[in-house]
């Protein structure tokens, strides 16, 4: 490994100060970042360890407001009976992180901000994987696990297990930075980088994700992930849905795809279509079709369009308690 510095701040303010320096990177559970460093895919001057920072971990259910600290481990969240009872879809999303070791070490913030699994990126070809003359290695190569909604040259997929659900819930991210606290929709944490130098998240230097908050009352959510293996495996496609209101009619529907685009992909046409409609076999199928409108699959991932349709249909069915 290349040498790097290591800082262990005790407060959010100290952490933010340390992270403001160029080349600093926050270290949460370390389940992926350390591998990236060992493989020389990413380089850092200094790791800022968050484990000793006060106030970053914990789960609170206050009325219908669920607050989760960024350093809460996935297993702690999974074991929180009230949180799971209030939002059962969380259990599905967390159980999808299929190894107990990863759930024990991995954190909520780490899951949301983890780097893509794109095999070109992981082999050192960069996040956009462009050749010297600017051609996409992904488009010309093997893209079976890549985006069906590429954005520009960003063709990797957002790998977060929790993000689609939190985006569907319109959860907020709480971020601390040099200028203090700011809140933004979880959806706004993500972007598709336009150049090789850009990250896939919107956090500015010195900014630290400290937690997420979601109103879990008055809605029904579900997550459906398509996996090839039942054992440890990444989803090929994931869908999260949140239906507002009770009864057969959805007052409002939010449908979000994971593993489909460089960011959690809000399928707004599908959500708009379903909002105000009754959920039936026909309408959820139509929503699944609407969710893939505008998909631009590449040479090897047409099948993911069908997976997205199915994942949406099945997630909606589960949220509505229907047999699909």
């Amino acid at each position: 490994m290349r040498p790097f510095g290591y800082a262990a701040p005790a407060t959010v303010e100290q952490a933010v100060g340390l992270l403001a320096a160029e080349g600093s990177e926050a270290l949460a559970g370390g389940t992926d970042l350390l591998s990236l460093l060992k493989d020389d895919v990413e380089r850092v001057d200094r790791l800022v360890a968050l484990r000793g920072v006060a106030g970053l971990s914990g789960i609170e259910l206050d009325g219908g407001m669920l607050r989760i600290g960024a350093m809460t481990t996935l297993q702690e969240l999974r074991d929180h009976e009230d949180a799971i009872a209030a939002l059962p879809a969380l259990a599905v999303a967390i159980d999808g992180v299929a190894s107990p070791q990863l759930r024990a070490m991995g954190t909520v913030g780490g899951d949301l901000l983890q780097r893509p699994r794109c095999w070109y990126y992981r082999r050192g070809f960069g996040l956009l994987a462009l050749t010297g003359d600017g051609r996409s290695m992904v488009a010309g190569g093997d893209n079976r696990y890549h985006a069906i909604f590429p954005t520009g040259q960003a063709r990797f997929v957002s790998p977060s297990s929790l993000a689609p659900l939190l985006v569907a819930l319109e959860a907020e991210a709480v971020v601390h930075g040099p200028a203090g606290e700011r809140r933004l929709p979880v959806e706004a944490l993500y972007r598709a980088p336009r150049t090789g130098g850009e990250r896939e998240t919107t956090l500015a230097p010195g900014e630290l994700l400290v937690g997420v908050e979601a109103d879990v009352t008055g809605s029904r959510s579900a997550v459906y992930e398509v996996r090839q293996r039942r054992s440890l495996d990444w989803p090929l496609m994931a869908a999260a849905v949140t239906l507002t209101g009770s009864g057969p009619r959805a007052e409002k529907a939010r449908i979000v795809l994971g593993h489909a685009a460089p960011t959690p992909h809000v399928a707004s046409a599908a959500g708009d279509f379903l909002s105000g409609r009754e959920l039936t076999s026909e309408t959820v199928t139509a929503a699944g079709d609407a969710a893939v409108e505008g998909a631009r699959p590449m040479s090897g991932n047409h099948y993911k369009v069908q997976l997205a349709r199915t994942a949406v249909r099945r997630a909606l069915g589960q949220a509505a308690g229907m047999e699909i």
Partner: protein, 709 residues
């Protein structure tokens, strides 16, 4: 005493029993020291720098910065300036350093300038392959005439890609020099033959090279030679004057240390109105990396099919050369053949088991297959549960059953075994074989214990060291036949010497005596006997030591086995995800020494088979020429929850036992790809032409039939 032979069924105490493997506890608790666990004093760690390009020429190489790094002891250039590299992952330089991390850092400090050349890695694209060459054409009978008059013909293009061995313990070794004497703790399948190969490369006499492999973590056909990293490891150790551990990193293990050749084919097969196979025409191709690949045995099992023509094209690619993979060429040939026959049965409107049964006279062992097909069908409740294609149920989830048959040789290899009986009754065997996970240590102990009438804990087996008598490499399912035959002969000879000493004390001839149940006594009159310990004491002060050999006199082994497997799958037709619900395996292997270990080999074959049927493949990148899944993240192996319920039936008893011991490691891995593919076709009504049966391929096949996607 009788000739060399196995005891009759009613006189077997150990043979055919189910003792647990002797080293199971030390392996599962971590006390077993594998070659990669060896950490002698002063050990250095070595790592290898590999070429990132699939085809390149080395223009320059500068190791000075690496050499200057603290903790770096030796830097060695493996392929220097001017070398042409033919695959990504080929070895360029090596470093020995005080820790693995320092060695890795030093690799990064080596500057190599490459002239990048054009590459070809897309093996299925025969027409685009620059080096494709004919590799065999055979014909028998008159296929054209037979096709012209046949009742039904099917034509399919099918294939399966290259895949990795993925040994859990990577290739590598620990090398220590003491003057001109080299000791190698190697993860190898060939303890007895490795020393000579090291010696030739290193310029020392083979008598000064010691190879030790007490345990090893998987080979599957990929660990028969020292390999370049073995020789480099020894050279680094010699230069450093310190022991050197060099085991491949996981990405190297996947990329260069073992792959199974691909096989693709356009096949036509035809049958007459009675469902009898009458014609075969196959145009096959495949790649085993740079060397290309030879012809797979088509048509498989039904090799006496009349009127057949086979052509093969070898497709070289810029990928590391393939290695023998558990039953070389057979899983490929089995899939290509059984899928076509299964489709032909469907075309004929026949139950595939009935169709196979009608054609068994075209195989080498019709009686065995007929019996096995009946047993497998019974286990699967095939008659009640099998339905022809096209009768799918409501909903997305479909179920199906598929069947396949396979064959293998498995004759025992050359083997020598020293058996020693001590005056205190202690019995030991020394054999230069290796236990590659199949249970060889336990098998040898059982043969010893059987012969001397002792319990397993009363005998000792030493193996995995080339100072012991030469015993063959563990390949071709040849180990069990080789080691049991040499051990049995040595043990029978040693016992005979003991009995010569004992006979006068019992007023009997040696030929009248038997050793059973911890005693030596006159056969038929157990009162005229003595304990084993007392008997051994009769030999005097010095132990008896005898060497047994295979081949040798007596009929202890033979070769040639058949097996039948049935797969039951569940297919989600909306996602293309296939899950294996159940695998049934019916297998013969002659006389079984250890039922538990025999079944364990079949379970292992089924698990590995589910892996290559559903998940495993090399994914070379057409753009960079590198493998994109040289890891355990996207190179997917079957997990326990993916393999379904596994049910094994071993053929034993009259008709099987008297054939003697036959190897078993390979046959059970041959059929799963074919059986699972046939089950998927049965479930969804259409053939998915390629393995592994990934969701994209399943959905494509469904789409071709007007399904989704």
């Amino acid at each position: 005493m009788a000739d060399y032979s196995w005891p009759e069924a009613d006189r077997r105490a150990q043979i055919g029993a189910r003792p647990a493997r002797l080293d199971g506890a030390v392996k599962s608790t971590g006390f077993a020291k594998y070659p990669s666990d060896q950490n002698p004093n002063g050990l250095l760690a070595a790592k290898i720098l590999t070429c990132p390009h699939a085809h390149a020429r080395i223009v320059g190489i500068d190791t000075s910065a690496a050499e200057a790094m603290p903790g770096v002891r030796v830097v060695q250039v493996i392929q220097g300036e001017g070398s042409e590299i033919q695959w990504a992952g080929d070895e360029v330089a090596a470093v020995a350093a005080v820790t693995e991390d320092v060695a890795r850092d030093a690799l990064r400090a080596i500057r190599v300038d490459y002239e990048v050349l054009s590459h070809f890695v897309t093996e299925e694209d025969r027409d685009g392959a620059p080096g494709a060459r004919p590799a065999g054409e055979r014909a028998e009978g008159d296929p054209d005439a037979a096709f012209a008059t046949a009742h039904r013909t099917v034509e399919r293009t099918l294939g399966m890609p290259q895949m990795a061995h993925m040994c859990l313990e990577p290739h590598g070794q620990v090398c220590s020099w003491d003057g001109d004497e080299l000791e190698v703790h190697a993860s190898t399948q060939a303890v007895s033959t490795l020393a000579g190969q090291f010696a030739t490369e290193l310029g020392v006499p083979a008598s000064q090279v010691r190879i030790r492999t007490e345990y090893m973590g998987g080979g599957f056909g990929s660990k028969f030679s020292p390999d370049r990293w073995g020789i480099v490891g020894a050279e680094l150790a010699r230069k450093a004057g310190a022991p050197v551990k060099l085991f491949l990193e996981r990405d190297q293990e996947v990329t260069v240390a073992g792959s199974r050749p691909s096989a693709f084919a356009r096949i036509r097969a035809a049958a007459d109105e009675q469902g009898r196979l009458v014609a075969w025409d196959s145009d096959s191709w495949g790649s085993g990396g740079l060397p290309g690949t030879g012809q797979t045995p088509l048509p498989y099992v039904f090799s006496r099919l009349p009127n057949r023509r086979t052509r093969h094209t070898s497709v070289p690619t810029n990928l590391a050369g393939s290695r023998a993979w558990r039953a070389p060429n057979h899983p490929q040939a089995c899939f290509l053949t059984m899928a076509v026959l299964d489709d032909l049965a469907d075309e004929l409107g026949l139950d595939p088991i009935d169709f196979l049964d009608r054609n068994l006279d075209l195989t080498g062992r019709p009686d065995t297959y007929r019996e096995q097909l009946a047993i497998a069908a019974e286990m699967a409740s095939w008659k009640e549960r099998w339905q022809p294609r096209g009768r799918e149920r409501e909903g997305a989830i479909q179920r199906g059953l598929g069947v396949s048959v396979h064959t293998w040789g498995g004759r025992g290899h050359s083997s020598n075994c020293d058996v020693t009986v001590h005056p205190d009754g202690a019995v030991e065997a020394r054999i230069g074989s290796q236990d590659i996970g199949t249970g060889t240590r336990t098998i040898v102990a059982q043969v010893l214990a059987e012969t001397f009438g002792l319990e397993l804990h009363q005998v000792r087996v030493s193996l995995g060291d080339n100072v012991y008598p030469q015993s063959g490499p563990s390949g071709g399912s040849s180990t069990v036949g080789g080691v049991t035959a040499s051990t049995r002969r040595a043990a029978q000879d040693a016992l005979r010497e003991v009995l010569v000493h004992v006979a006068p004390r019992l007023a009997a001839e040696p030929e009248q005596l038997v050793a059973e149940g911890g005693r030596v006594f006159v056969d038929g009159d157990s009162s005229r006997g003595m304990s084993w310990r007392e008997a051994a004491a009769q030999i005097g002060g010095a132990p008896i030591s005898v060497q047994g050999r295979n081949p040798g006199p007596g009929r202890l082994i033979s070769s040639g086995v058949g097996g039948v497997q049935i797969a039951e799958v569940e297919v989600d037709t909306d996602t293309g995800v296939v899950h294996v619900e159940r695998m049934i395996a019916v297998q013969d292997c002659g006389l079984i020494i250890n039922r538990r270990l025999a079944e364990s080999q079949v379970y292992g074959g089924l698990i590995m088979g589910v892996g290559y049927a559903l998940y495993e493949e090399w994914i070379p990148d057409p753009v960079s020429g590198r493998l994109l899944n040289a890891d355990m993240e996207f190179y997917k192996l079957a997990g326990l929850v993916d393999v379904g319920s596994l049910e094994v039936h071993m053929m034993t008893g009259p008709g099987y036992d008297e054939r003697g011991v036959i190897g078993l490691g390979e046959p059970p891995v041959i059929s799963p790809g074919a059986a699972i593919s046939n089950a998927v076709a049965n479930a969804i009504g259409v053939r998915v032409p390629y393995l592994p049966l990934t969701p994209d391929r399943v959905l494509d096949a469904l789409a071709g039939r007007g399904g989704p996607a």
